[in-house]
């Protein structure tokens, strides 16, 4: 559907939910959950394609990249509705929120106009090449090297050498938003440049890593004399830190809201077959209280963003709450279904086990709980420098 004005959030929410209800047959996965990673990636792309054709996927994005305009909260509502119905995995789906805005804000306008619609429509997948074996929490130490083929300001291409790790879904990706070292090693965050790299460029090798839950969602990506045109630089040469940091407001608002919708759904599903007794009531009630506090906080954060506030260190509070609530939700899942995660061998148990084990990463990815607490201590509590 297409309409003259962008809808309000409430209108959009009502309309999208009604539309999803009416199209459940079309959108529901065509495999028995959990399916393989191949199944889930194909499902996500299929859902994006259906929603793009029906225009839902275009609300909240600027018109110059094929969107229909309106508040970014419209796309948050869409993602949350999809996660709450198990149509897509919110972790993979909400990668759009950290990748597309980067292109919109920092790529050449023609490049953004060409590629962003493909990401939204599910005809392409992109990945995010940030972490390295030697650069986890300390992103400013990254070493994957980009050298200009000639003078830095006039070079028509750059040559990239190095390695990335924990790159989600790189084996499925057509492009990569890549952070590279362009200054001297000691230049830290001042000498980083962001590139938009085609993953079929010669010299790129992707090696999936088996995770603790048996999945192969993460990869190592190797760059061996990979030649990238200079017009694929995002932002300024040596200006990559700003590009990396610009993701934060989207990650800490829209992505979190989608994750929260997913966690509510998880708790609901786990208690579907749980016995009604006081033990289980206490477990459900405890998780519910923590989820509600998180949802309340996240809503306030997004309303601040929508009224033009710049999100900063205070979103570290949101990040700690999301991670804590995710642990609490899956602890509740495990307690509500004793023996399923630990001993179950059927498809259902396999799916819950994979999710449960993955949930332990919530305090690690996207900035560890310790890094968040350091930020809270220095910036919000103003405790000064640490030893």
């Amino acid at each position: 559907m297409k309409r003259a004005d962008a809808p309000t959030i409430a209108e959009f929410r009502a309309e999208i939910r009604a539309w999803l209800d009416a199209h459940d047959d079309e959108l529901a996965p065509r495999y028995a959950p959990p399916g393989t990673l191949d199944d889930r990636v194909a499902q996500m792309q299929r859902v994006k394609s259906i929603l793009f054709d029906a225009h839902w996927m275009r609300y909240g994005w600027p018109e110059r990249v094929g969107g229909l305009g309106g508040s970014p909260m419209l796309r948050t509502e869409l993602g949350a509705s999809l996660a709450a119905r198990d149509y897509v995995d919110p972790g993979s789906f909400s990668l759009i929120e950290v990748l597309a805005p980067t292109l919109i804000d920092y790529a050449r306008p023609e490049l953004a106009a060409e590629v962003v619609p493909r990401l939204l429509a599910g005809t392409e997948m992109w990945c995010q090449g940030f972490s390295e074996p030697g650069s986890g929490s300390d992103l400013g130490s990254l070493a994957c090297r980009a050298e200009p083929d000639g003078d830095a300001q006039s070079a028509s291409s750059w040559i990239i050498n190095g390695q990335k790790v924990w790159t989600s879904l790189a084996q499925y990706s057509d492009r990569c938003v890549l952070l590279t070292r362009t200054g001297p090693a000691e230049s830290r965050h001042r000498g980083i440049t962001a590139f938009f790299v085609d993953m079929d460029t010669p010299g790129i090798t992707v090696a999936p890593i088996e995770m603790i839950n048996g999945e192969r969602e993460f990869t190592e990506v190797f760059f061996d004399d990979v030649v990238v045109p200079a017009d694929r630089i995002l932002g300024e040469v040596d200006g990559g830190w700003a590009v990396a940091m610009s993701i934060l407001p989207y990650e800490r608002s829209s992505c979190f809201w989608q994750r929260i919708a997913y966690l509510y759904r998880r708790l609901e599903r786990a208690m579907a077959s749980a016995e009604c007794n006081d033990r289980n009531a206490a477990i459900v009630g405890g998780a519910f209280v923590q989820l509600h506090a998180l949802r309340a906080r996240s809503r306030a954060t997004q309303h601040r963003l929508a009224t033009g506030a710049t999100l900063g260190a205070e979103t570290s509070i949101d990040k700690v709450l999301v991670a804590t609530a995710e642990h609490a939700t899956y602890d509740a899942v495990r307690q509500l279904r004793p023996g399923v995660i630990e001993l179950g061998d059927d498809l259902d148990a396999t799916a819950w086990r994979a999710e449960y084990v993955y949930s332990r990463a919530a305090t690690i990815y996207g900035g560890t709980a310790e890094v968040q607490r350091n930020i809270i201590a220095r910036r919000l509590l103003e405790l000064g420098d640490e030893d």
Partner: protein, 309 residues
């Protein structure tokens, strides 16, 4: 009331309560508490109970909040019987009361049997009153037992549920205020206290404890904002349960940062700590409320999201 007006009111109430030598009830009366409660109940409760929590003062404003919710005209002469500790059912013949019960002329009590919820206003001679000292004697709680058999006036059952919700919101604001006070005290101590040749605030172990406390306090504030935006028994219950969890987190982290001095009565920490411990069980602690909420959710197999963007 817009945000600026609310901040101004909060600053005024806080300053008056922090400076006053007199009874907190008199201070609030001078500030026009009952008028503000009638005109802007949500803001009045947030500001006054937040300030009571932050200053550690105790007043009997809870009686006014409950009286108004039960459809009675609040006044200094009217006390309201609170449910027994860790309960939220109508108190009937036995319950708790604030310090107002010492001077009140009338007592409002809600009863409930299998079919009917009712409210009775009884004259004070028909009530036996025993002061409670407990962990926080300054809170001024009392035990009350009603000897009269006045016939109750029937009220809608959800009137009591609304009163519980208002009571929980007020107490959650008071606990939040006390949590802010504990965190402020611990932060100041961490910055000023020198060990191993440097302020202990420079040690990551201390910083992370204080950060945990701030995360909990900010989450509580968010649930309080929701309880005001979407007022209903469930959002109030969630705020009160979060208050209970937060109080324990903040007390545990701050007490550890304050270490020895936090264990003395020379330092004010103990007053806020004891206040939150005593307040937690009024209208139910986190565990009690979570059990009720969990039963409610399990009965319908649904987790309500309650708030939208």
């Amino acid at each position: 009331m817009d945000a600026a007006e609310r901040e101004l009111l909060a600053a005024t109430v806080h300053a008056a309560l922090a400076d006053a030598d007199g009874r907190a009830d008199d201070v609030l009366a001078d500030l026009g508490w009952l008028d503000i409660l009638a005109a802007e109940p949500d803001d009045a409760i947030a500001v006054v109970f937040g300030a009571l929590g932050r200053t550690g003062r105790s007043a009997s404003a809870l009686d006014d909040v409950l009286a108004a919710a039960l459809g009675r005209a609040p006044s200094a002469g009217l006390a309201v019987v609170l449910p027994a500790y860790e309960h939220s059912d109508p108190p009937a013949r036995r319950g708790l009361a604030t310090a107002r019960v010492e001077d009140a002329t009338e007592l409002c009590v809600v009863t409930r049997d299998a079919t009917t919820t009712g409210v009775t206003v009884v004259a004070m001679p028909a009530v036996s009153v025993t002061p409670i000292h407990g962990i926080d004697p300054e809170l001024g709680l009392h035990r009350v037992e009603i000897d009269a058999d006045a016939p109750p006036e029937k009220i809608a059952a959800d009137r009591w549920d609304d009163a519980v919700a208002q009571g929980r919101r007020a107490l959650a604001h008071q606990i939040a205020g006390a949590c802010h006070a504990m965190l402020d005290l611990a932060r100041t101590h961490a910055v000023e206290r020198v060990q191993f040749g440097r302020p202990i605030a420079r040690f990551q172990a201390m910083r992370h404890r204080l950060a945990e406390a701030l995360v909990a306090v900010d989450a509580l504030e968010a649930t309080l904002a929701v309880a005001a935006d979407e007022p209903n028994p469930m959002t109030a219950a969630l705020a009160k349960a979060t208050a209970g969890r937060t109080a324990r987190t903040v007390a545990r982290q701050c007490q550890q940062v304050l270490a020895g001095i936090g264990f003395t009565t020379d330092h004010p920490f103990h007053r806020f700590y004891k206040r939150t411990v005593a307040l937690e069980g009024l209208f139910g602690s986190a565990e009690t409320i979570e059990l009720d909420l969990g039963r409610e959710l399990l009965a319908v197999r649904h987790v309500p999201t309650l708030i939208e963007l």
